[in-house]
C-alpha cells in the first residue's frame, strides 16, 4: 500500500485523487485503488476535520481520566477496556504504562455530564480500582495543529 498517499491524506482529507496522483507521482488509477483498499481494510478509519470549537463559543468539556484496573485472567486488560470504550462518551481509550492502566479521554456537554459518567458508569464497573479525573482547561495543540498563533513565515516576497 502506498504510504505516501496516506500521509498526504492524513494531513488533508480533502485532497482529490488527481491532486494526490500529481503530488505523489502515482497514476490516478493506483491512487483510487489504494484508497479503496485502505478503506476496505480499515487502514483508513475515517475522514475527520479538526475544529476549533472554542472560536464559536461552543464550550465542550473534555477530560482525561486515569483509570486503575485489575487485569482479568485470560483477557488481561482487554475485556474491561472494551466495556469502557463502548461508551459513546469515551472518545479515546489507551492502555498505558506507569501508575495507572487506562487513559480515557472523554468529551461531554458539561462538567456535570462528565462527573455523571465517571460516578455512574466508570467507577462502579467491576475491576475498576479507582479513577482520577483531569478536566482540560485549554487546548494548545490538537492533532499536530497549533490552535492559536500558528507560526507564519516572515519571508520577503522576492529574494535571490
Amino acid at each position: 500500500m502506498n504510504e505516501k498517499i496516506l500521509k498526504v491524506l492524513e494531513q488533508n482529507a480533502k485532497a482529490t485523487p488527481l491532486q494526490l496522483a500529481t503530488m505523489t507521482g502515482v497514476p490516478v488509477s493506483e491512487v483510487k485503488e489504494t484508497i479503496e483498499q485502505a478503506e476496505r481494510e480499515r487502514v483508513i478509519l475515517r475522514y475527520k476535520t479538526v475544529i476549533n470549537w472554542e472560536k464559536l463559543g461552543n464550550e465542550r468539556v473534555m477530560a482525561l481520566i486515569e483509570v486503575k484496573i485489575t487485569p482479568q485472567r485470560g483477557v488481561g486488560f482487554d475485556a474491561l477496556a472494551e466495556r469502557i470504550y463502548r461508551f459513546a462518551e469515551a472518545r479515546s481509550v489507551y492502555l498505558v504504562s506507569g501508575t495507572y492502566d487506562l487513559a480515557v479521554l472523554v468529551t461531554a456537554g458539561s462538567m456535570h455530564e462528565v462527573a455523571n459518567f465517571v460516578s455512574q458508569k466508570l467507577s462502579p464497573l467491576e475491576g475498576v480500582q479507582g479513577t482520577v479525573t483531569h478536566f482540560l482547561l485549554k487546548r494548545y495543540k490538537e492533532d499536530g495543529e497549533i490552535l492559536d498563533g500558528k507560526e507564519e513565515s516572515h519571508r520577503l516576497a522576492v529574494a535571490p
Binding site: K4, K7, V8, N12, Q19, T22, M23, T24, G25, E151, S153, R155, L156, A157, V158, A159, P160
Partner: protein, 394 residues
C-alpha cells in the same frame, strides 16, 4: 565644486559598474500591491524546526554570546566532518580543512578573494545565481559565462567549459542543484567536468547549498569524484536544507592550503560566524535529519504540482530535479521574461522572477519557487492560466 563629479568619484568604479540585481526592481513594485501570491522567493516557507530554535535559545540562556574560533566552534566542525563523511563518504579534517562562514554567501566571497589575481577568469554557467558574477567582479576577476540550454536541462557541459578556457582561466564556479533552474548534474556529467578541470589545472568552486534538496535522485558531491578533492572548494550551508536562511551559517571545505588562505580573509573581515547561529547549526546536524527528510518529501509533492500545472497551462517546463524552483519557458506568450513578470504581477498579482535576472540565457524563462503553500500554488496556477490565455501568441 562640480557636484556630479564629486558624487561620481565617491563610489569605486568596480562597484559603480555592477548592475543592481534584477530582483530588486520587483521588490519595490510588489510592495505597492495587495493580494499578491509570491513565487518569487528564494527560501523555504518552513520556519526553522523548533528543536533547532530551542537549542539556540538555550545557548543564549547559558551565556554563549562571545566570539568563537575564527574557524568556527570546534564541536560544530567535528559534527560537520562527520555529516560529510556520512552523506558522501568524504573526509575533511575539522582542524584546518573546514571553515564555518556567514552563509554560503561569505564562503563564496572568501573562495574568490583567496584565489583570484586581478584579471583572472572564472567560468560559470549562464543562467546562474545572481551573486556569482558580481562576487567574481568584486574579487577582481572576470566572469566568463558558459551558455546552457533547456534542451540539455540547463546542465553545464564539459566541452563548453573547455572551449572557453584560456591562459587567464583560474576557476570554474558552479552550483548544482541550481538556482534558478533546478537543474542537477549526473555523476558522469560531473566526471567529465572534473576531467577538464584537472587537465587545465582549474580550481572548482562547487556551491552545493541545495545538495539536500534533490528529488528521486541522489546528489553527487563534486569533491567525491576521483581526483577532484585536491582542486575543489566545496561550499555548503544550512539555509536551504534546514530552513535556516536568517541564521546566516554556511561552510567551506577545502584542502589545507586553500582553506588557510580563505581563513586569513575571514579572520580580518568577519572574525567568526554568529555564535548563536553556530549553536543552532550544531543542533541541526545532531538531530535535524528527520526534519530534512520530511521537508524534502513536502517540496517534492509541491514540485510535481507546480511542474504539471505549468505544463498543463502551456508553459513548457522540463522536470527540475533539485532545489525548489521550476523554470518554465514563456515562449507561448511571445513576451520577454521581464515583460511577462511585470504584466503578470500587475494583471494577476502573481510574482515570479524573470529568467533574465540570472543571465542572458535565462531570457525566455521565469523562475517560480514552489516553496509555497499548496493552496497558494493552486491559486497562482489558476491566475497564470488566465494570464497565458490572454497573452497567448496568435
Amino acid at each position: 565644486m562640480d557636484s556630479t563629479r564629486t558624487r561620481k568619484q565617491l563610489i569605486a568604479d568596480r562597484v559603480a559598474g555592477l548592475s543592481p540585481s534584477g530582483i530588486r526592481k520587483f521588490f519595490d513594485l510588489l510592495a505597492s500591491l495587495e493580494g499578491v501570491i509570491s513565487l518569487g522567493v528564494g527560501e523555504p516557507d518552513f520556519v526553522t524546526p523548533w528543536r533547532i530554535r530551542e537549542a539556540a535559545i538555550y545557548s543564549l540562556e547559558r551565556g554563549y554570546t562571545s566570539y568563537t574560533s575564527n574557524y568556527g566552534l570546534p564541536e560544530l566542525r567535528k559534527e560537520l566532518a562527520n555529516y560529510l563523511r556520512c552523506l558522501y563518504s568524504i573526509e575533511y579534517d575539522p582542524q584546518g580543512e573546514l571553515l564555518i562562514t556567514v552563509g554560503v554567501s561569505e564562503a563564496l566571497d572568501l573562495a574568490l578573494r583567496a584565489i583570484l589575481n586581478p584579471g583572472d577568469e572564472v567560468i560559470m554557467p549562464d543562467p546562474c545565481y545572481v551573486a556569482y558574477s558580481a562576487c567574481v567582479t568584486l574579487a577582481g576577476g572576470t566572469p566568463v559565462p558558459v551558455p546552457t540550454t533547456v534542451e540539455n536541462g540547463f546542465a553545464i557541459r564539459a566541452a563548453d567549459i573547455e572551449s572557453r578556457i584560456g591562459v587567464r582561466t583560474k576557476a570554474l564556479l558552479m552550483g548544482y542543484p541550481a538556482n534558478p533552474t533546478g537543474a542537477v548534474l549526473t555523476r558522469p556529467e560531473l566526471a567529465s567536468i572534473c576531467d577538464v578541470a584537472t587537465k587545465h589545472g582549474l580550481i572548482v568552486i562547487s556551491d552545493e547549498v541545495y545538495a539536500r534538496l534533490v528529488y528521486d535522485i541522489e546528489h553527487t558531491s563534486f569533491p567525491c569524484l576521483p581526483g577532484a578533492r585536491e582542486n575543489c572548494i566545496l561550499l555548503g550551508g544550512f539555509s536551504k536544507a534546514f530552513a535556516m536562511t536568517g541564521w546566516r551559517i554556511g561552510y567551506a571545505a577545502a584542502p589545507r592550503e586553500i582553506l588557510e588562505a580563505m581563513t586569513k580573509v575571514h579572520q580580518y573581515t568577519m572574525l567568526c560566524a554568529p555564535t548563536v547561529g553556530q549553536m543552532a547549526a550544531l543542533e541541526a546536524l545532531r538531530s535535524g535529519e528527520n526534519d530534512v527528510v520530511a521537508m524534502v518529501e513536502d517540496y517534492n509533492q509541491r514540485r510535481r504540482l507546480m511542474v504539471k500545472g505549468l505544463n498543463d497551462i502551456g508553459l513548457a517546463c522540463y522536470e527540475p530535479k533539485g532545489a525548489f524552483y521550476a523554470f518554465p519557458s514563456i515562449a507561448a506568450t511571445g513576451l520577454t521574461s521581464d515583460q511577462f513578470a511585470e504584466k503578470l504581477l500587475n494583471e494577476e498579482r502573481v510574482a515570479v522572477v524573470p529568467g533574465s535576472a540570472f543571465g542572458s540565457c535565462g531570457e525566455g524563462f521565469v523562475r517560480c519557487c514552489y516553496a509555497t503553500a499548496v493552496p497558494d500554488i493552486e491559486e497562482a496556477l489558476r491566475r497564470i492560466e488566465r494570464f497565458v490565455k490572454r497573452h497567448r501568441m496568435p
